[in-house]
Symmetry: C2
Subunit: 145 residues, 2 copies
Amino acid sequence: MNIGDAAKASGVSAKMIRYYEETGLIPPAARTAAGYRVYGNQDVHMLRFIRRARDLGFSVEGIRELLGLWRDRDRHSADVKRLALAHVAELRQKIRKLEDMATTLETLAQHCHGNDRPDCPILSELEAPTYLAEEAGDGHVRNAG
Amino acid sequence: MNIGDAAKASGVSAKMIRYYEETGLIPPAARTAAGYRVYGNQDVHMLRFIRRARDLGFSVEGIRELLGLWRDRDRHSADVKRLALAHVAELRQKIRKLEDMATTLETLAQHCHGNDRPDCPILSELEAPTYLAEEAGDGHVRNAG
DNA sequence: GCTTGACCTTACCACTGTTGGAAGGCCCAT
DNA sequence: ATGGGCCTTCCAACAGTGGTAAGGTCAAGC
């Protein structure tokens, strides 16, 4: 199977397959005399595994660890679980951050008349934080002059 | 004021200030005879504006529009609001995606014994989707086998 | 056997936003 | 004039993907 077929079968683009090989995420594929990469069903299986891990938001590094566990028949499911839960924690943290942004902005937008006048609390906020105020705990310089 | 002072005063790193100038987000700074960039209070003001917009998750492109509106004394607050709300929608979409990932993974992890045995539903899932099924739309479980 | 076209190869560039470093110039204080 | 700290530009890197160029290869048709 050539790379194009493997790509179709796995849902990972040929581009990405080469990239994963180059960065060592997957072992180098066998080659034909002409230099074409050759893949078997086992490889497609692995590629699919990778794609699903990516769909779950794992980074390439995370996937690397996951793959190691996957290949290790003597793995402990505790290790897999730990990896997954750590990733969930990361995800949740990102979500929290994004939600803070969204709610702040939404509150601001609610207070914006949204008409043809120029005055807008969103811009005011960006000029000088009021709602945001003390986000990163660096004290209170608060527009000293 | 040199770039270092402007950086400290605005919370945008000197590196980033140069980058923003290079990419046209901000106008080229005035220069001394020696080529040093020179900034005034107005510039620091703008830099702070940018930093806050970034803190709210706006992309550089979004900030570019925001800045345009900010500078436009004849702006309509409706335009600002529209921009902000569009960004909120993007944010919420990202959040939803992330949340889907997190809950899926969490569910999987709950079913994982997390012991020293190798069998683990997380890896099984990555091998062949069951919970995930059709990722982007309805989360219909298809365990037809 | 030759052409065509689809596919493959490597090797770059772009994007997004930020950080880091290197090599050298400038400014201020001493 | 020397030293330290700031400034300058350029180059690389991160993650991950898309794109493009220039060329080789394979399978088919005529």
